[in-house]
């Protein structure tokens, strides 16, 4: 297994000279490394290429040039949840166990009940999943993504519709998972505070480029990159003017 230049975490996957054009937008990533067992955050303004990069990792779209070195990671070990998750035309329970079913894994009813109870969905197990509120749908999609214990989880704005209590609960759950059996996360979120608290490493996207990678402190507070400073200034103004 390869070791990063800092010698801390083994490399999980690497995007090399990756290019993808969608209409007028072009994503160009020279070298982006996703290290194993830590929480990565993709930060940047709308349309900066965060979701496109995530879709490339998930092989939902194919690059025009360059390659992704998965380093032994299989696509079936990666999962992604989005802001508007796709829920099956079925019950909450059926949605939750779907990844286990397709893997032929045994469904442990006790574990399912515990997971649902953690987010107050235990009474809704038999409910039609699409009749849940948007926040509940996001919780369900997160649980569904985690239930089969993937090696890489991409969370694309999935926590955006959740109430603060649920976000805290998810944060606790993620940190708890990281303590017990670390997995690799890619969190895409506009909530900088949330990214700062959770992520071990942030990658700042601007106009289809990754302009900086580093710890939350390095990126959000110490960087002198004009793109980051402008973004931070806008975020500050947003907070001041409701």
């Amino acid at each position: 297994m390869r070791i990063t230049e800092k010698g801390r975490h083994p490399i999980h996957m690497r995007m090399i000279n990756l290019e993808k054009r969608i209409g007028d937008f072009q994503l160009k990533i020279d070298d982006l490394t996703i290290e194993e067992g830590i929480i990565h955050g993709f930060v940047g303004a709308n349309g900066s290429g965060k979701t496109t990069a995530a879709k490339l990792i998930m092989d939902i779209i194919r690059p025009d040039a360059g390659r992704i070195d998965y380093g032994g990671l299989k696509l079936t070990d990666i999962t992604m949840t989005s802001q508007r998750p796709y829920l099956l035309h079925d019950t909450v329970y059926a949605n939750l166990v779907y990844p286990l079913k397709i893997r032929g894994r045994k469904i442990q009813e006790e574990q399912i009940r515990e997971l649902l109870a953690m987010f107050h969905l235990e009474d809704k197990a038999k409910q039609y999943a699409r009749s849940l509120s948007s926040g509940e749908q996001q919780k369900l999609s997160m649980l569904r993504a985690m239930i089969f214990e993937p090696k890489l989880l991409i969370i694309d704005e999935t926590l955006s519709n959740l109430d603060p209590g649920s976000v805290d609960q998810f944060e606790k759950m993620i940190l708890d998972i990281q303590k017990r059996k670390p997995v690799t996360w890619v969190m895409i979120s506009h909530r900088l505070s949330h990214q700062y608290r959770l992520c071990d490493r942030l990658h700042f996207f601007s106009q289809g480029r990754v302009v900086a990678s580093g710890t939350g402190k390095e990126i959000l507070f110490e960087s002198s990159k004009p793109e980051i400073r402008r973004f931070m200034a806008k975020e500050m103004i947003k907070k001041e003017i409701p």
């Binding site: 998930m58 796709y86 035309h89 039609y128």
Partner: protein
């Protein structure tokens, strides 16, 4: 003679209404099942694969969705008549011949509806399946499962078309009493004999059956919720 047969015979003149109902249902059910297998498979394949001339194929199918049944009847008649290329099958003036004609009429309808639904639903289902790590086969099964209400609706629409069709079955079946006479061809016969009230009664019976089918279709349509998130 069973009770229902006696009741039906007492209501109508000697045009073989009971047999007509039996033939109508047999023909409609068989042709719908055959068309569903072919139409759904082609509709899904049309959505899945890109090939040169695909748009033309889609347009041709859409045109065939509205083809006058009597034209199909004529073509099938020419194919299966004794001197026709399929004359050796010996299915002219039989229920099997009528099923063939009906299948040709309904298949483009089911195929077209399946294709339209799949174009809307498949991209989201495929992305979801990929994020879940599903195989190709699992993705295909999931797509059919996710479209089941739409597919039922397409099948019921095909059945509705089949049960109410008259032109093609008249040409291919020959309206033979007790053999290939259907409810619609019986109505046409009653009209030509001037027995309007019986024709109307039979028409109302057919309308009742069509109503039940529409109720089923509505039930499935209601099941397809509007609040879909992709």
């Amino acid at each position: 003679m069973n009770m229902i047969e006696k009741l039906v015979s007492s209501l109508f003149s000697d045009v073989g209404v009971y047999d007509a109902i039996r033939v109508t249902l047999c023909m409609s059910v068989c042709s719908t099942l055959l068309s569903s297998v072919i139409g759904i498979a082609f509709g899904l394949m049309l959505e899945r694969f890109s090939f040169p001339g695909k748009r033309i194929v889609v347009r041709i199918n859409r045109t065939l969705m509205g083809v006058p049944p009597v034209v199909v009847g004529l073509v099938v008649y020419m194919l299966i008549m004794r001197r026709g290329p399929l004359g050796f099958l010996g299915i002219l003036f039989t229920v099997r011949g009528m099923i063939l004609a009906q299948t040709l009429i309904i298949t483009p309808i089911i195929c077209g509806m399946t294709y339209s639904y799949a174009v809307k639903a498949a991209p989201a289902v495929r992305v979801f399946a990929k994020t879940m790590g599903a195989s190709r086969l699992q993705t295909s099964i999931l797509l059919i499962r996710e479209m089941k209400y739409e597919l039922y609706f397409a099948m019921i629409s095909g059945f509705g078309r089949s049960i109410s069709e008259v032109g093609a079955v008249m040409l291919v079946g020959g309206n033979i009493k007790g053999n290939t006479r259907t409810m619609t061809t019986a109505i046409a016969l009653l009209k030509s004999q001037g027995i309007f009230h019986e024709g109307l009664t039979l028409g109302l019976l057919l309308l009742g059956m069509a109503f039940v089918i529409q109720c089923l279709a509505d039930f499935f349509r209601r099941e397809v919720r509007e609040d879909e998130n992709y």
